[in-house]
């Protein structure tokens, strides 16, 4: 059994899909033609922008807003400028300048004392990876078409990758890097997909098509479990479903403490479409952050 940190509750049973996103560390190469490298960089950013725009058009609700904000950050001239300066000053290749320029901004966010903002550094790292992949002409896996009941295993599930997933086919998520405030964690909880983070060397511990059972509450992962282990988790899954069903009856009741104090239970919504969830779960109102 492996043990990580559960960040989204529930039991997931399914087959492993390894998402290999090797980190590319570009070498520094001295160049003569500064204008050419600048053009290569702008071109790569433009391609990533275009892909992100297409993604925005396919999305709706909170996800759409998140990716729109992501797109705006990508289009922020400050981000590109840091890399352009490096090309000019160090007379180096666009890929290396992107690595170094984006890293300076990533570091700025990592050092913030606000955990939410610190988590945004991973979004910028995600953009960096995409831009470098475009410069070096690397291809990516189609995340919208994974088989049903996939347990997605990867070093880190980035914001843009999460947005591309067809969540209906995802039975669970296991990663090495990720926090409770990452976009992946937020989406996993919204869509009730069990998720576990903090498994070191996760890509070496599992193979494609391994059967795994994960417990997003305890952080436990059973790779190719015994019949007993499997049965135990399947039963737990059923029990959780029953438990949730039993809680349903409280939905329509007022939230009042024993001494008669009324506590308002509100929902945090992303947009008007989420109102349906608010009404179905009988929240007393909404807040918008």
């Amino acid at each position: 059994m492996l043990k990580g940190v559960g960040i989204s509750d529930g039991i997931g049973l399914g087959k492993v899909v390894l998402l290999k996103n090797e980190e590319i560390k570009p070498e520094k190469v001295r160049i003569e033609d500064v204008e050419l490298e600048k053009k290569i960089l702008y071109n790569a950013i433009h391609l990533v922008e275009k892909e992100t725009e297409e993604l925005v058009n396919q999305l709706s609700g909170t996800e759409k807003e998140i990716i729109q904000a992501y797109l705006m950050i990508l289009q922020d001239p400050t981000l590109v400028q840091s890399s352009i300066e490096i090309i000019k000053q160090e007379k180096c290749n666009a890929a290396y300048a992107t690595e170094k320029g984006f890293n300076s901004i990533i570091q700025m966010f990592e050092e913030m004392d606000d955990p939410y903002m610190a988590a945004r550094s991973r979004d910028i790292a995600d953009m960096k990876k995409k831009v470098i992949a475009k410069i070096l002409n690397k291809k990516e896996i189609n995340l919208a078409q994974l088989p049903k009941d996939s347990i997605l295993v990867t070093k880190e599930l980035t914001t843009s990758d999460t947005a591309k997933l067809n969540l209906k086919n995802i039975a669970g998520i296991v990663t090495e890097i990720g926090g409770i405030n990452s976009h992946m964690a937020i989406m996993a909880r919204t869509y009730e997909i069990p998720a576990i983070v903090g498994i070191k060397q996760v890509m070496q511990l599992m193979s494609d098509n391994d059967f795994v059972a994960i417990n997003g509450t305890t952080g436990e992962i059973f790779v190719n479990p015994s019949k007993e282990e499997y049965m135990k988790l399947e039963r737990l899954k059923e029990n959780l479903k029953l438990e949730k069903g039993q809680l349903e009856k409280y939905k329509s009741q007022l939230s009042v403490t024993k001494d008669g104090h009324h506590v308002e239970v509100l929902a945090n919504i992303g947009n008007v479409k989420d109102i349906e969830l608010v009404i179905n779960n009988t929240a007393e109102g909404v807040r918008f952050i």
Binding site: A69, I73, P77, T78, I105, M112, D114, R120, I289
Partner: protein, 85 residues
Amino acid sequence: MKKERVIIENETGIHARPATEISKIAMKYPCDVFLLVNEKKINAKSPLMIMAAGIKTKTEVEILCDGEDEDKAIEELKNFIKNIS
């Protein structure tokens, strides 16, 4: 040049969403737009820099608009920032 002081009332401060909204508004206008926060001058047309400033609730922010349409820009930004929720 126009200046306005506002206090951030939103509990969670200026997070990603309001930061991008502020820069969207700033970008609509041709004038320069800056935010003065904790003695730092931030280009308000950069969502990244607004986010990186980590503006918390109850912080005083001075909006500076300089150039064409500075009156309109400062009015819209002041109203937006005051009412972030």
